[in-house]
């Protein structure tokens, strides 16, 4: 099968969906002429015109709100927020408007929009450009949260998200854009709420998403050499969360480690650990471990940044502690 990058996969998804449905349009900062800060929308304004690929002023609150209003009135906007760190300015519109309208108005309205953004550390760009804030959105009733780790998942999930009738926060990872992977030429969709077993194993379940999937796979590879067999699961969408898949695996291995790049307190790892304990308590042979970024703003200095984010070494250590 052909291999393309995560960036190209996302771009293909946008092109296909914009061709398929005229109500799909993109708005965000530097998405047109510049082609997006991470070049996902490169050249799209030439294909679809500047009205459907709209450069906006630096106005995150209005970008999210304008997308909400357009979605409410029959369009399918894709709002790009350059960094999830700036999405905090868009949060009010997302959590108080987009997320709640359907419920508040008696199930009669809908807000079919995607807020595309990217997060994560690894580039040495410090506290305002490196965070993993998915927990903020997962927390909110009315929003779905999608975080693909591979080119294949990025394309299939973005297409599904655009067609879905709910407001979706679609979070990419800045360190994955250049990663290559197999993506079929034919059209495909990936349903929300369906995780994947990325590696089968017997001794311990490792749940990881976004860039941390690759960290977990690296750890699993190394542990294999020591005779430890890890099952690695990527939930792919954090909400809805494929608990059946995770619980099924934990019932088999009886041990679990959860890896997330988000901060520790009330993070996505905390949620998954809780769910495992709720659903698999009797099956567990050891405490469930979580590996996260500590509760520290992401520092710029490369040595500190590396220390802050979860590594294969830390995952291996956690697995060894519960074997």
């Amino acid at each position: 099968m052909r291999e393309i990058t995560y960036r190209e996969a996302l771009r293909e998804a946008l092109i296909e969906e914009m061709k398929r449905d005229e109500s799909v349009f993109i708005l965000g900062e530097d998405v047109a002429i510049y082609g997006g800060a991470y070049k996902v929308t490169d050249g799209l304004y030439k294909m679809f015109g500047e009205d459907r690929v709209k450069d906006t002023p630096i106005s995150e609150a209005a970008i999210a709100g304008v997308a909400t209003g357009a979605a409410l009135t029959g369009m399918r906007p894709i709002a790009e927020i350059m960094y999830i760190d700036f999405s905090t300015q868009a949060t009010d519109q997302m959590v108080n408007q987009a997320a709640k309208m359907r419920y508040m108005f008696g199930g009669k309205s809908k807000v079919p929009m995607v807020l595309r953004t990217q997060g994560g550390a690894g580039r040495g760009i410090a506290a305002h450009h490196s965070q993993s804030l998915e927990a903020w959105y997962v927390h909110m009733p009315g929003l779905y949260v999608v975080m693909p780790a591979t080119p294949y998942d990025a394309k299939g999930l973005l297409k599904t998200s655009i067609r879905d009738d709910n407001p979706i926060v679609f979070i990419e990872h800045k360190m994955l854009y250049g990663m290559k992977g197999e993506v079929p030429e034919e059209e495909y969709l990936i349903p929300l709420g369906k995780g994947v077993i990325k590696r089968e194993g017997e001794d311990v379940t490792i749940v990881a998403y976004s860039r941390m999937l690759h960290v977990a796979l690296e750890a699993a590879e190394a542990l294999e050499k020591e005779g430890v067999s890890c099952e690695v699961i990527d939930p792919r969408t954090l909400k809805p969360l494929d608990m059946d898949l995770i619980a099924g695996s934990v019932r088999k291995t009886n041990k679990a480690v959860v890896v997330s790049e988000g901060y520790r307190h009330c993070g996505m790892a905390a949620e998954i650990v809780t769910r495992i304990i709720e659903e698999c308590f009797d099956d567990l042979d050891a405490p469930v471990k979580r590996i996260t970024t500590p509760d520290v703003p992401i520092p710029m200095s490369p040595v500190l940044e590396e220390e802050a984010i979860p590594s294969a070494k830390k995952v291996i250590q956690a697995v060894q502690e519960i074997l």
Partner: protein, 323 residues
Amino acid sequence: MPFKETKEELLSLLKQMLEIRYFEEKVWELLARNIIKGASHVYMGEEAVAVGAISAIRDDDYITSTHRGHGHCLAKGGKLKYMLAELCGKATGYCKGRGGSMHIADVTKGNLGATGIVASNIPVATGAGYAIKLRGTDQVCLCFFGDGATNNGVFHESLNMAALWKLPVIYIIENNLYGMSVSVERASAVQELYKKGCAYNIPGEAVDGMDVMAVREATRKAVEKARKGGGPTLLECRTYRYQGHSRSDPRVYRTKEEESYWRKRDPIQSFWKRLIEEGVATEEELQGIEKEVEEETNEAEKFALESPYPPVEELAKDVYVVK
């Protein structure tokens, strides 16, 4: 118009602009050599704004800076070597290597900080203005931000409060014609940005941001008024960033002709020429200053490269005030 300033004052203005220019050229080089990691937004071409404006305030006055903050940091008392160490993520940098380019500031000098979130220091400066008012001193706060930031909600919220409460804040727009790739024309409904103050009854003025003396004079007048309780002013300094937004920016959104037009109006060259024409100094004296700056820059590089990285044990230090 002959100068009111002493020779020493005038030469100091030139020297500071040269320091910024040499610093930024060094930064650009170290980025290319991958010695500085991450992103750096350089201030080349805009030197007259920070230097002119900050020369019109006292040491006990405040400023707030931006993601393009190297010039502000230097003009508010920063030393090249600690700045460069910060950009390299070293323990000897102003922020112990945690901030890097986007958060550079010597906060002990009344520089309240640089921010990676566009516009987010506009309310912070406004808060400093309110604190000054509560304490009853005659300090002021200079608030720097870009043209792009004037389209963000907090700009408008802050200006309204500052006018309502007559706060001693001077809002300085560094209008370099673009916010990343998006021109003022394509981002702002109002082209003459100083006019945005009229919605809040804040007097505004357009200033030649390539002329250090013009910026200094406009700021001096606004500061004098603010110290007497006359409230805020909005200055729009028209300037140009010579380089791309960041190193990866191919600058497809602007023309070579435009770039060379602005480079011909270089703030350093034109001030240099004027100092000689007005008989303030000789060519040799000015060359002597440039030589000094060049040596300082090389020393700063040596200092930064030889400095240690921060110890990883200190990753979680300073998140909170701990007694």
